[in-house]
Protein backbone atom coordinates (compact mmCIF):
# COMPACT_ATOMS: atom_id res chain seq x y z
CA UNK A 1 0.00 0.00 0.00
CA UNK A 2 1.13 3.53 -0.67
CA UNK A 3 1.71 5.64 2.39
CA UNK A 4 -1.28 7.89 1.71
CA UNK A 5 -3.55 4.88 1.26
CA UNK A 6 -2.09 3.33 4.35
CA UNK A 7 -2.83 6.47 6.31
CA UNK A 8 -6.51 6.42 5.27
CA UNK A 9 -6.72 2.74 6.09
CA UNK A 10 -5.30 3.43 9.55
CA UNK A 11 -7.85 6.18 10.20
CA UNK A 12 -10.62 3.93 8.89
CA UNK A 13 -9.44 1.07 11.12
CA UNK A 14 -9.13 3.20 14.26
CA UNK A 15 -12.57 4.69 13.69
CA UNK A 16 -14.27 1.33 13.01
CA UNK A 17 -12.52 -0.32 15.94
CA UNK A 18 -13.51 2.50 18.28
CA UNK A 19 -17.16 2.28 17.33
CA UNK A 20 -17.20 -1.49 17.63
CA UNK A 21 -15.44 -1.30 21.01
CA UNK A 22 -18.09 1.13 22.22
CA UNK A 23 -20.80 -1.20 20.99
CA UNK A 24 -19.14 -4.15 22.71
CA UNK A 25 -18.75 -2.22 25.95
CA UNK A 26 -22.36 -1.05 25.95
CA UNK A 27 -23.68 -4.54 25.21
CA UNK A 28 -22.24 -5.82 28.49
CA UNK A 29 -24.22 -3.44 30.71
CA UNK A 30 -27.89 -3.27 31.56
CA UNK A 31 -27.89 0.50 31.27
CA UNK A 32 -25.85 0.39 28.07
CA UNK A 33 -25.15 3.86 26.65
CA UNK A 34 -26.77 5.60 29.64
CA UNK A 35 -23.45 5.11 31.45
CA UNK A 36 -21.80 7.67 29.21
CA UNK A 37 -23.74 10.34 31.10
CA UNK A 38 -24.32 8.56 34.38
CA UNK A 39 -20.68 7.88 35.18
CA UNK A 40 -19.44 11.49 34.95
CA UNK A 41 -22.53 12.55 36.88
CA UNK A 42 -21.76 10.16 39.75
CA UNK A 43 -18.13 11.20 39.77
CA UNK A 44 -19.11 14.82 40.14
CA UNK A 45 -21.61 13.96 42.82
CA UNK A 46 -18.77 12.71 45.03
CA UNK A 47 -17.00 16.06 44.91
CA UNK A 48 -20.24 17.93 45.36
CA UNK A 49 -21.15 15.97 48.49
CA UNK A 50 -17.71 16.41 50.03
CA UNK A 51 -16.96 20.03 49.23
CA UNK A 52 -20.35 21.67 49.00
CA UNK A 53 -22.40 19.70 51.51
CA UNK A 54 -19.94 18.39 54.10
CA UNK A 55 -17.15 20.97 54.10
CA UNK A 56 -19.32 23.85 52.99
CA UNK A 57 -16.36 25.12 50.98
CA UNK A 58 -18.22 25.82 47.82
CA UNK A 59 -19.30 29.39 47.69
CA UNK A 60 -21.30 30.92 44.89
CA UNK A 61 -21.68 28.86 41.71
CA UNK A 62 -19.52 26.10 43.09
CA UNK A 63 -21.38 23.33 41.27
CA UNK A 64 -20.83 25.01 37.93
CA UNK A 65 -17.22 25.72 38.82
CA UNK A 66 -16.71 22.08 39.78
CA UNK A 67 -18.32 20.71 36.64
CA UNK A 68 -16.23 22.90 34.37
CA UNK A 69 -13.11 21.56 36.06
CA UNK A 70 -14.05 17.92 36.33
CA UNK A 71 -15.44 17.20 32.88
CA UNK A 72 -12.28 18.15 30.96
CA UNK A 73 -10.27 16.37 33.66
CA UNK A 74 -12.26 13.15 33.33
CA UNK A 75 -11.76 13.21 29.58
CA UNK A 76 -8.00 13.36 30.10
CA UNK A 77 -7.95 10.81 32.92
CA UNK A 78 -10.04 8.21 31.13
CA UNK A 79 -8.06 8.47 27.93
CA UNK A 80 -4.72 8.10 29.67
CA UNK A 81 -5.71 5.34 32.07
CA UNK A 82 -7.48 3.45 29.28
CA UNK A 83 -4.50 3.74 26.96
CA UNK A 84 -1.94 2.78 29.57
CA UNK A 85 -2.46 -0.96 29.34
CA UNK A 86 -3.98 -0.95 25.84
CA UNK A 87 -0.90 -2.41 24.17
CA UNK A 88 -0.23 -5.19 26.66
CA UNK A 89 -3.91 -6.06 26.74
CA UNK A 90 -3.86 -6.54 23.00
CA UNK A 91 -1.03 -9.05 23.08
CA UNK A 92 -3.26 -11.76 21.58
CA UNK A 93 -3.81 -9.60 18.52
CA UNK A 94 -0.40 -8.00 18.15
CA UNK A 95 1.31 -11.36 18.20
CA UNK A 96 -1.02 -12.83 15.57
CA UNK A 97 -1.45 -10.05 13.09
CA UNK A 98 1.22 -7.72 11.86
CA UNK A 99 -0.27 -4.47 12.93
CA UNK A 100 1.19 -1.30 14.28
CA UNK A 101 0.68 -1.08 18.07
CA UNK A 102 -0.10 2.64 17.83
CA UNK A 103 -3.67 1.80 16.88
CA UNK A 104 -4.49 0.49 20.35
CA UNK A 105 -3.94 3.66 22.41
CA UNK A 106 -5.33 5.77 19.57
CA UNK A 107 -8.49 3.68 19.52
CA UNK A 108 -8.95 4.33 23.23
CA UNK A 109 -8.45 8.05 22.63
CA UNK A 110 -11.09 8.10 19.88
CA UNK A 111 -13.48 5.95 21.91
CA UNK A 112 -13.21 8.27 24.90
CA UNK A 113 -13.60 11.29 22.64
CA UNK A 114 -16.86 9.94 21.21
CA UNK A 115 -18.21 9.34 24.72
CA UNK A 116 -17.12 12.83 25.67
CA UNK A 117 -19.22 14.58 23.03
CA UNK A 118 -22.66 14.23 24.72
CA UNK A 119 -21.05 15.08 28.07
CA UNK A 120 -19.59 18.29 26.63
CA UNK A 121 -22.92 19.25 25.11
CA UNK A 122 -24.59 18.74 28.50
CA UNK A 123 -21.85 20.81 30.12
CA UNK A 124 -22.49 23.71 27.77
CA UNK A 125 -26.26 23.41 28.33
CA UNK A 126 -25.80 23.27 32.09
CA UNK A 127 -23.56 26.33 32.27
CA UNK A 128 -26.03 28.24 30.12
CA UNK A 129 -28.96 27.19 32.35
CA UNK A 130 -27.02 28.48 35.35
CA UNK A 131 -27.29 31.94 33.83
CA UNK A 132 -23.95 32.26 32.08
CA UNK A 133 -25.07 33.34 28.64
CA UNK A 134 -22.87 32.31 25.72
CA UNK A 135 -20.74 35.12 24.36
CA UNK A 136 -18.40 35.23 21.39
CA UNK A 137 -15.72 34.40 23.95
CA UNK A 138 -17.12 30.85 23.95
CA UNK A 139 -15.59 30.33 20.50
CA UNK A 140 -12.29 29.96 22.35
CA UNK A 141 -13.59 26.59 23.48
CA UNK A 142 -12.68 25.24 20.04
CA UNK A 143 -8.90 25.81 20.20
CA UNK A 144 -8.82 24.89 23.89
CA UNK A 145 -10.57 21.57 23.22
CA UNK A 146 -8.20 20.85 20.33
CA UNK A 147 -5.22 21.62 22.55
CA UNK A 148 -6.56 19.27 25.19
CA UNK A 149 -6.98 16.54 22.56
CA UNK A 150 -3.36 16.93 21.44
CA UNK A 151 -2.17 16.76 25.04
CA UNK A 152 -4.30 13.68 25.64
CA UNK A 153 -2.80 11.95 22.59
CA UNK A 154 0.75 12.71 23.76
CA UNK A 155 0.20 11.43 27.29
CA UNK A 156 -1.74 8.35 26.14
CA UNK A 157 0.87 7.32 23.58
CA UNK A 158 3.84 7.85 25.87
CA UNK A 159 2.29 5.89 28.74
CA UNK A 160 1.14 3.09 26.42
CA UNK A 161 4.63 2.77 24.91
CA UNK A 162 6.48 2.75 28.23
CA UNK A 163 4.43 0.13 30.04
CA UNK A 164 5.47 -2.85 27.85
CA UNK A 165 9.10 -2.06 28.75
CA UNK A 166 8.57 -1.78 32.48
CA UNK A 167 5.26 -3.26 33.60
CA UNK A 168 5.74 -1.77 37.06
CA UNK A 169 4.77 1.61 35.65
CA UNK A 170 1.23 0.34 35.45
CA UNK A 171 1.00 0.72 39.22
CA UNK A 172 2.09 4.32 38.98
CA UNK A 173 -0.57 5.38 36.50
CA UNK A 174 -3.51 5.64 38.95
CA UNK A 175 -1.35 7.35 41.59
CA UNK A 176 0.16 9.68 39.00
CA UNK A 177 -3.28 10.61 37.72
CA UNK A 178 -4.62 11.27 41.21
CA UNK A 179 -1.62 13.47 41.94
CA UNK A 180 -2.15 15.34 38.68
CA UNK A 181 -5.83 15.80 39.49
CA UNK A 182 -4.97 17.48 42.79
CA UNK A 183 -2.36 19.58 41.01
CA UNK A 184 -4.72 20.80 38.31
CA UNK A 185 -7.23 22.79 40.30
CA UNK A 186 -10.10 20.50 39.34
CA UNK A 187 -12.07 21.32 42.47
CA UNK A 188 -10.42 24.54 43.66
CA UNK A 189 -9.32 27.81 42.13
CA UNK A 190 -5.61 28.19 41.37
CA UNK A 191 -5.86 31.77 42.67
CA UNK A 192 -6.20 30.35 46.19
CA UNK A 193 -2.66 29.04 46.18
CA UNK A 194 0.32 31.25 47.04
CA UNK A 195 0.99 33.83 44.37
CA UNK A 196 4.62 32.78 44.01
CA UNK A 197 3.42 29.29 42.97
CA UNK A 198 0.77 30.28 40.48
CA UNK A 199 3.02 30.53 37.43
CA UNK A 200 4.64 27.18 38.16
CA UNK A 201 1.23 25.67 38.81
CA UNK A 202 -0.03 26.76 35.41
CA UNK A 203 2.87 25.03 33.67
CA UNK A 204 0.94 21.83 34.21
CA UNK A 205 -1.03 21.51 30.96
CA UNK A 206 -4.21 20.31 32.68
CA UNK A 207 -4.10 23.19 35.20
CA UNK A 208 -3.72 25.61 32.31
CA UNK A 209 -6.56 24.05 30.34
CA UNK A 210 -8.95 24.00 33.28
CA UNK A 211 -8.15 27.64 34.01
CA UNK A 212 -8.95 28.45 30.35
CA UNK A 213 -12.25 26.53 30.40
CA UNK A 214 -13.33 28.47 33.49
CA UNK A 215 -12.22 31.81 32.08
CA UNK A 216 -14.24 31.13 28.95
CA UNK A 217 -17.43 29.89 30.56
CA UNK A 218 -17.48 32.46 33.36
CA UNK A 219 -16.26 35.15 31.00
CA UNK A 220 -13.77 36.30 33.63
CA UNK A 221 -10.59 36.72 31.68
CA UNK A 222 -9.80 36.87 27.97
CA UNK A 223 -7.62 34.08 26.63
CA UNK A 224 -4.05 35.25 26.18
CA UNK A 225 -3.28 34.47 22.55
CA UNK A 226 0.47 34.52 23.08
CA UNK A 227 0.31 31.93 25.87
CA UNK A 228 -2.06 29.76 23.87
CA UNK A 229 0.21 29.85 20.82
CA UNK A 230 3.19 28.80 22.93
CA UNK A 231 1.16 25.89 24.29
CA UNK A 232 0.18 24.86 20.77
CA UNK A 233 3.75 25.09 19.55
CA UNK A 234 5.10 22.98 22.40
CA UNK A 235 2.40 20.35 22.19
CA UNK A 236 2.56 19.95 18.42
CA UNK A 237 6.33 19.52 18.65
CA UNK A 238 5.92 16.92 21.38
CA UNK A 239 3.21 15.18 19.36
CA UNK A 240 5.50 14.86 16.36
CA UNK A 241 8.27 13.52 18.57
CA UNK A 242 5.92 10.98 20.14
CA UNK A 243 4.69 9.76 16.76
CA UNK A 244 8.28 9.44 15.62
CA UNK A 245 9.10 7.42 18.72
CA UNK A 246 6.21 5.09 17.94
CA UNK A 247 7.43 4.58 14.39
CA UNK A 248 10.68 3.29 15.82
CA UNK A 249 9.05 1.15 18.49
CA UNK A 250 6.55 -0.47 16.13
CA UNK A 251 8.56 -3.64 15.61
CA UNK A 252 9.85 -3.93 19.18
CA UNK A 253 6.62 -3.64 21.16
CA UNK A 254 4.89 -6.86 20.00
CA UNK A 255 7.64 -9.08 21.35
CA UNK A 256 7.68 -7.23 24.66
CA UNK A 257 4.03 -8.00 25.24
CA UNK A 258 4.67 -11.75 25.44
CA UNK A 259 7.79 -11.87 27.54
Amino acid sequence: MKSKQKFYWLIDLIWTKSLLNLKSEASRNVLSYVWWILEPFLYMLVFYVVFEMLLNRGGENYTTFLIIGLIPWMWFMKSVSGSSSSIINSHALITQIKIHPVIFPLTIVVQTLVKQIPVFILLIGFVWLQGFEPTTNWFWLIPITILELIIIVIFSLVVAALIPFVRDLNYLVPTGLTFLMFMSGTFYDYKNIGEQWQDVFLMNPMAYLIKCYRDIFFNTEAINTYNLSVWFLISITLLIMTLHLFRKLGSILPKLTIQ
Binding site: L20, S27, L93, I94, T95, Q96, I97, K98, P254, Q259
Partner: protein, 215 residues
Protein backbone atom coordinates in the same frame (compact mmCIF):
# COMPACT_ATOMS: atom_id res chain seq x y z
CA UNK B 1 12.14 -18.72 -9.08
CA UNK B 2 12.52 -16.16 -6.33
CA UNK B 3 11.37 -17.24 -2.87
CA UNK B 4 8.52 -15.27 -1.29
CA UNK B 5 10.06 -15.31 2.15
CA UNK B 6 13.56 -16.24 3.22
CA UNK B 7 14.90 -16.88 6.69
CA UNK B 8 18.66 -16.66 7.15
CA UNK B 9 20.17 -17.93 10.38
CA UNK B 10 17.21 -16.73 12.36
CA UNK B 11 17.35 -17.03 16.12
CA UNK B 12 14.79 -15.88 18.61
CA UNK B 13 15.25 -15.35 22.30
CA UNK B 14 12.66 -14.55 24.91
CA UNK B 15 13.39 -13.11 28.28
CA UNK B 16 11.67 -15.35 30.79
CA UNK B 17 12.89 -14.01 34.07
CA UNK B 18 14.70 -11.08 35.49
CA UNK B 19 14.05 -8.19 37.81
CA UNK B 20 16.12 -6.27 40.32
CA UNK B 21 16.42 -9.37 42.53
CA UNK B 22 17.19 -12.07 39.98
CA UNK B 23 19.49 -12.29 37.02
CA UNK B 24 17.99 -12.13 33.57
CA UNK B 25 17.27 -15.52 32.07
CA UNK B 26 16.67 -16.09 28.41
CA UNK B 27 15.07 -18.86 26.50
CA UNK B 28 16.03 -19.80 22.96
CA UNK B 29 12.82 -20.37 21.06
CA UNK B 30 14.49 -20.68 17.65
CA UNK B 31 18.10 -21.51 16.80
CA UNK B 32 19.72 -20.63 13.47
CA UNK B 33 16.79 -21.37 11.23
CA UNK B 34 17.18 -21.31 7.47
CA UNK B 35 14.07 -21.62 5.36
CA UNK B 36 12.87 -20.55 1.95
CA UNK B 37 9.26 -20.40 0.90
CA UNK B 38 8.54 -20.54 -2.83
CA UNK B 39 5.23 -19.79 -4.54
CA UNK B 40 2.88 -22.78 -4.64
CA UNK B 41 4.65 -24.74 -1.95
CA UNK B 42 3.08 -26.50 0.98
CA UNK B 43 5.48 -26.70 3.82
CA UNK B 44 4.66 -28.85 6.79
CA UNK B 45 6.38 -28.46 10.11
CA UNK B 46 5.97 -31.13 12.73
CA UNK B 47 6.76 -30.40 16.31
CA UNK B 48 5.60 -30.97 19.84
CA UNK B 49 4.22 -28.28 22.10
CA UNK B 50 6.93 -25.80 22.96
CA UNK B 51 9.22 -26.85 20.14
CA UNK B 52 9.15 -23.41 18.55
CA UNK B 53 6.44 -24.00 15.93
CA UNK B 54 4.34 -21.00 16.78
CA UNK B 55 7.36 -18.75 17.23
CA UNK B 56 8.45 -19.68 13.74
CA UNK B 57 5.07 -18.68 12.35
CA UNK B 58 5.26 -15.38 14.20
CA UNK B 59 8.62 -14.69 12.62
CA UNK B 60 7.32 -15.62 9.17
CA UNK B 61 4.31 -13.35 9.53
CA UNK B 62 6.59 -10.50 10.51
CA UNK B 63 4.84 -10.00 13.82
CA UNK B 64 8.03 -10.59 15.79
CA UNK B 65 11.50 -9.59 14.75
CA UNK B 66 14.25 -12.19 15.20
CA UNK B 67 16.89 -11.61 17.87
CA UNK B 68 19.57 -12.35 15.30
CA UNK B 69 19.60 -13.41 11.67
CA UNK B 70 17.53 -12.02 8.89
CA UNK B 71 14.07 -12.35 7.44
CA UNK B 72 13.68 -11.23 3.87
CA UNK B 73 10.19 -10.79 2.59
CA UNK B 74 10.04 -10.22 -1.17
CA UNK B 75 6.74 -8.38 -0.97
CA UNK B 76 4.56 -11.32 0.03
CA UNK B 77 1.49 -10.78 2.16
CA UNK B 78 0.95 -13.26 4.94
CA UNK B 79 -1.92 -14.27 7.12
CA UNK B 80 -1.60 -16.26 10.29
CA UNK B 81 -4.55 -18.53 10.83
CA UNK B 82 -5.21 -19.41 14.40
CA UNK B 83 -8.33 -20.24 16.26
CA UNK B 84 -9.99 -16.88 16.39
CA UNK B 85 -7.41 -15.00 18.36
CA UNK B 86 -8.39 -11.44 18.90
CA UNK B 87 -12.11 -11.86 18.52
CA UNK B 88 -14.19 -9.58 20.69
CA UNK B 89 -16.50 -11.91 22.57
CA UNK B 90 -19.25 -9.36 22.99
CA UNK B 91 -19.54 -8.60 19.31
CA UNK B 92 -21.35 -10.80 16.85
CA UNK B 93 -19.66 -12.80 14.12
CA UNK B 94 -20.34 -10.17 11.49
CA UNK B 95 -18.74 -7.32 13.46
CA UNK B 96 -15.77 -9.52 14.27
CA UNK B 97 -15.31 -10.27 10.59
CA UNK B 98 -15.22 -6.55 9.81
CA UNK B 99 -12.75 -5.84 12.60
CA UNK B 100 -10.52 -8.80 11.89
CA UNK B 101 -10.52 -8.20 8.17
CA UNK B 102 -9.53 -4.59 8.66
CA UNK B 103 -6.81 -5.53 11.11
CA UNK B 104 -5.44 -7.85 8.45
CA UNK B 105 -5.17 -4.96 6.04
CA UNK B 106 -8.50 -4.64 4.20
CA UNK B 107 -10.41 -1.41 3.85
CA UNK B 108 -13.84 -1.28 5.46
CA UNK B 109 -15.66 -1.33 2.09
CA UNK B 110 -13.57 -4.27 0.90
CA UNK B 111 -14.38 -6.42 3.88
CA UNK B 112 -18.03 -5.35 3.88
CA UNK B 113 -18.40 -6.43 0.26
CA UNK B 114 -17.12 -9.88 1.23
CA UNK B 115 -19.43 -10.32 4.22
CA UNK B 116 -21.99 -12.48 2.43
CA UNK B 117 -19.36 -14.74 0.97
CA UNK B 118 -17.68 -15.17 4.35
CA UNK B 119 -21.02 -15.83 6.00
CA UNK B 120 -21.83 -18.54 3.45
CA UNK B 121 -18.41 -20.13 3.60
CA UNK B 122 -18.35 -20.25 7.40
CA UNK B 123 -21.63 -22.18 7.44
CA UNK B 124 -22.50 -20.50 10.72
CA UNK B 125 -26.05 -19.62 9.69
CA UNK B 126 -27.85 -17.47 12.25
CA UNK B 127 -24.94 -17.73 14.65
CA UNK B 128 -23.14 -15.26 12.41
CA UNK B 129 -25.33 -12.57 13.96
CA UNK B 130 -24.88 -13.72 17.55
CA UNK B 131 -22.12 -12.77 20.01
CA UNK B 132 -18.94 -14.78 19.56
CA UNK B 133 -18.87 -15.64 23.29
CA UNK B 134 -21.57 -18.27 22.73
CA UNK B 135 -19.58 -19.93 19.91
CA UNK B 136 -17.99 -23.32 20.38
CA UNK B 137 -14.27 -23.71 19.69
CA UNK B 138 -15.11 -25.27 16.34
CA UNK B 139 -17.32 -22.36 15.37
CA UNK B 140 -14.64 -19.84 16.27
CA UNK B 141 -12.17 -21.76 14.16
CA UNK B 142 -14.57 -21.74 11.22
CA UNK B 143 -15.03 -18.02 11.47
CA UNK B 144 -11.28 -17.39 11.75
CA UNK B 145 -10.54 -19.65 8.81
CA UNK B 146 -13.29 -18.12 6.68
CA UNK B 147 -11.93 -14.62 7.23
CA UNK B 148 -8.34 -15.50 6.41
CA UNK B 149 -9.30 -17.42 3.29
CA UNK B 150 -11.13 -14.37 1.97
CA UNK B 151 -8.24 -12.07 2.73
CA UNK B 152 -6.29 -14.04 0.21
CA UNK B 153 -2.69 -13.61 1.28
CA UNK B 154 0.29 -14.93 -0.70
CA UNK B 155 1.39 -17.12 2.18
CA UNK B 156 -1.01 -18.82 4.54
CA UNK B 157 0.45 -19.64 7.89
CA UNK B 158 -1.71 -22.25 9.53
CA UNK B 159 -1.42 -23.24 13.15
CA UNK B 160 -3.28 -26.50 13.77
CA UNK B 161 -6.49 -24.94 12.62
CA UNK B 162 -7.68 -27.65 10.27
CA UNK B 163 -7.70 -30.19 13.03
CA UNK B 164 -10.50 -28.21 14.64
CA UNK B 165 -14.02 -28.15 13.33
CA UNK B 166 -16.23 -31.01 12.28
CA UNK B 167 -15.66 -33.48 9.45
CA UNK B 168 -17.56 -31.44 6.86
CA UNK B 169 -15.67 -28.28 7.57
CA UNK B 170 -12.35 -30.12 7.58
CA UNK B 171 -13.06 -31.44 4.10
CA UNK B 172 -14.14 -28.03 2.91
CA UNK B 173 -11.08 -26.27 4.30
CA UNK B 174 -8.77 -28.87 2.79
CA UNK B 175 -10.41 -28.40 -0.57
CA UNK B 176 -9.98 -24.63 -0.30
CA UNK B 177 -6.32 -25.08 0.50
CA UNK B 178 -5.81 -27.26 -2.56
CA UNK B 179 -7.60 -24.63 -4.66
CA UNK B 180 -5.30 -21.96 -3.28
CA UNK B 181 -2.28 -24.03 -4.16
CA UNK B 182 -3.39 -24.04 -7.76
CA UNK B 183 -3.25 -20.26 -7.64
CA UNK B 184 0.37 -20.48 -6.59
CA UNK B 185 -0.34 -19.46 -3.06
CA UNK B 186 2.01 -20.93 -0.49
CA UNK B 187 1.11 -22.60 2.72
CA UNK B 188 3.03 -23.23 5.87
CA UNK B 189 1.23 -25.67 8.10
CA UNK B 190 2.41 -26.49 11.59
CA UNK B 191 0.99 -29.38 13.52
CA UNK B 192 1.86 -32.10 15.97
CA UNK B 193 0.00 -34.51 13.72
CA UNK B 194 2.34 -36.33 11.36
CA UNK B 195 -0.64 -37.75 9.50
CA UNK B 196 -2.01 -34.36 8.54
CA UNK B 197 1.39 -33.11 7.41
CA UNK B 198 2.04 -36.24 5.35
CA UNK B 199 -1.32 -35.94 3.71
CA UNK B 200 -1.07 -32.29 2.73
CA UNK B 201 2.50 -31.13 2.44
CA UNK B 202 5.19 -31.64 -0.17
CA UNK B 203 8.10 -30.33 1.91
CA UNK B 204 8.38 -31.61 5.44
CA UNK B 205 10.38 -30.41 8.37
CA UNK B 206 10.67 -31.32 11.98
CA UNK B 207 11.23 -28.77 14.67
CA UNK B 208 12.66 -29.78 18.02
CA UNK B 209 14.01 -27.47 20.72
CA UNK B 210 14.09 -24.62 18.28
CA UNK B 211 16.10 -26.44 15.63
CA UNK B 212 14.57 -27.03 12.20
CA UNK B 213 15.48 -30.19 10.27
CA UNK B 214 14.33 -31.36 6.90
CA UNK B 215 12.71 -34.82 6.89
Amino acid sequence: MQPLIELKDVSLQYKIKGNIFTKNKYYDALKNINLKIYPGETIGIIGKNGSGKSSLLKILSGVIQPTSGEIINHGASTSLLTIGAGFDNNLNGRDNVILNGMLQGLKSQEIKSKLNEIHDYSGLGDFFFKPVRIYSTGMRARLGFSISIHINPDVFLIDEIISVGDQDFKQKSKKTIYDKLKLLKSIVLVSHSTRLINEMCDKKYQIKDGILKSI
